[in-house]
Subunit: 412 residues, 2 copies
């Protein structure tokens, strides 16, 4: 590929000029010119070591909070590389703001259909055998503007469209360990997870998940959870919709049936065309998005570049990602970058030669269960127009002849 790349880019003008032109046209790649830099950095000593490392003033990657006193913020997917999302750029979604909690006064009550109702302090939780896992977390409302009619959708960046998904290394005590400690009744089949935020957010979770890979998490990317991610303790349910990963976790109640709470009756259900509704549609289906090229990129010239994107599934590992650069007429298998982990963002890459003409780029993820990301038409047929969550239909980017890239809602 590399030799073809060279041959293709080099003719006419020098490869350097070709590459500079090709890349300098990408909006957002130009650095701010305000920060002070010396004419020759080899001639003056630099700054000393610090307790906390700062970002370069030339870098502008930030989350986008909604307007006003926002209850959510989105991850800048188009500006990130690899699969790890820095903790301070991980998306936020909360229903009554971020509470301030003193870990010395924190405790978790586990009760209900158990032999030994127990209150665990943070120190108790940290003393149990721990587990770390790199996993994605996605809000089930992520990506709705790629499904419902939206006249402005074409000017959405990956961050604006799908920025409610992120991926980190989470550490905590397996919930199964706590459930065994308290002695769960054999008749128990669900549990309640309740937050200590001002919404007292609560969800019902199947007991199987509690004994499978559920984590009572106190760390993200090596360090303590940040307040926006549930400090000091959150529930982490790999592959489950975001709102079930209850932050600021204060109570788990074991029961024989779901609790039929607001967030699983009036919200987080999926109305279907036949008038019924899917309830407890907890697992996030396989999904992918090309993060480069994407709006607001502008390709300044034909030639080779790398198509980059992310794929993930709440059901396990990504098996493969197919990419089309001709509006879906043909598909090529993208390279998946190691490590390919279960229920984890997976980086895919595909070298692409742009001829300079208008085209549409799409990606389609298939997970290890064989489930393939549907088209919008396929999803619309089974979910209907009224659905509010789980928008995993194929994303498409239209590349115009002038190199501008826009979201092509409904193209796939």
């Amino acid at each position: 590929m590399l030799s073809r790349m060279s041959r293709t880019i080099r003719p006419g003008i020098s490869r350097r000029r070709a590459l500079v032109a090709g890349a300098s046209g990408v909006i957002g790649a130009a650095a701010a010119l305000t920060a002070q830099t010396p004419p020759d950095t080899t001639k003056i000593p630099g700054t000393g070591a610090t307790e906390i490392g700062a970002r370069s003033p030339f870098e502008k990657a930030k989350r986008r909070p909604g307007p006003g006193r926002s209850t959510s913020s989105t991850t800048p997917l188009q500006e990130l590389h690899g699969i790890i999302t820095p903790a301070d750029l991980h998306f936020e979604r909360h229903h009554a703001g971020i509470p301030s909690i003193d870990p010395a006064h924190y405790s978790l009550l586990v009760h209900g259909m158990v032999a030994r109702p127990t209150v665990f302090t943070l120190a108790d939780l940290k003393r149990f055998p721990a587990r770390s896992m790199i996993r994605f977390l996605e809000c089930s409302g992520n990506g709705g503007r790629n499904y419902r009619p939206d006249p402005e959708a074409h000017t959405l960046s990956p961050q604006q469209l799908d920025g409610l998904t992120s991926c980190s290394e989470w550490t905590g005590v397996p919930l199964a360990t706590l459930l065994r400690e308290v002695g769960v009744s054999p008749n128990a089949s669900w549990f309640l997870a309740e937050s200590m935020d001002a919404a007292v957010l609560a969800r019902s979770i199947p007991m199987e998940k509690g004994f499978d890979d559920a984590l009572v998490a106190y760390a993200q990317n090596g360090e303590a959870l940040r307040p926006g991610q549930g400090y000091p303790v959150r529930l982490f349910l790999p592959g489950y919709e975001g709102s079930t990963n209850v932050k600021w976790l204060r109570r788990i109640e074991v029961a024989a049936a779901p609790f039929m709470l607001r967030e699983e009756t009036s919200k987080y259900t999926d109305p279907l065309p036949d008038g019924t509704a899917r309830q407890f549609s907890l697992v996030m289906d396989a999904k992918s998005i090309v993060t480069e090229p994407a709006f607001p990129d502008r390709l300044a010239g034909a030639g080779w570049r790398e198509i980059r994107g992310l794929a993930w599934s709440g059901r396990g590992r990504i098996a493969h990602v197919d990419v089309s650069t001709d509006g879906g007429r043909s598909w090529q298998r993208a390279q998946l970058e190691d490590p390919v982990l279960p229920k984890c963002h997976t980086r895919f890459r595909l070298p692409w030669h742009w001829s300079g003409g208008e085209t549409v780029i799409m990606s389609r993820a298939t997970d290890e269960t064989g489930y393939a990301q549907p088209t919008r038409a396929e999803l619309l047929a089974v979910r209907g127009p009224g659905t509010q969550y789980h928008f995993n239909n194929i994303r498409a980017w239209r590349v115009a002849a002038d190199g501008t890239v826009t979201l092509a809602t409904g193209a796939a």
Copy 2:
């Protein structure tokens, strides 16, 4: 193990009181009491979403810069979980401070024994097919106070002793791609990597490494490199000693022999007992350290807890880690946590029941080449007392009957 853990902790007093006592005695686990928290977080709305997430005021994990205008800072290993080091807690080591560089004016020259000397802009580098990899980076001087006689060594924390190692996901263009683009001469066998910092730090690297897994890196943990880590571009050489991973990379010169620079003649060589010296001892050998329990922990009572630590090797994957809780008389195999990646920190865990008596805890890593971490006596015999780098001998922690934990230099 869990049931044994329960049985062992519960008798006498309630498991909760036992656990609280057991954990509250760990120095550093107590939260600061200054930050403001409401009496009931469910009764007042929390704070809104933000562009950048902040840490909890109760968390104090920080790097430790040396005195004065420091040229290094250390990662708080004993306060971190899993394998990922946040970018702003990754250790720093620089020889003339951190330069401030405008990425719009950045370029990398690749020249010497090549067919097409080329200057690459940052945009050029980002356009090439990229690769991400989770790998450790360690300063070759890390851990010297566990080797040389040091009366204060017993009061060193993992951060103070071995905090010059960290682990992140690095993204960039494989150096092999650039070497093929410029057409390296078949007679070339080494290359120079030169920094644009005030030290103009430079090292000679074998060409085989350049074509193997060397990365010209522009991102760490998803985001752009931070200035302290080489912004906008650094060389990343998986498994090689830290100083060869040249930050603020401005020049690569291809040659037929090493350049015999200051940092590979007067520094970064290993004087041996016979008067000769090891030169270009570039690969970091297998090593491990128990991060919990460790100084300044104080165990407040007998019972079950988890021994936690990190192991890594510059030669590939960690094959296994053996842990002794009786001063080296017997060894148990620790659990290695997935994913176990090559040239990457690997988290190991072992449940341990402390009887309450004095003992010494050690860990010994073995990598996939079969190389096992040596004792201090073994390392001293081959390296002699004058060596300055590559201190990978076994670390040992002495647990006193009162629960205090200190570094037992020379115990292994």
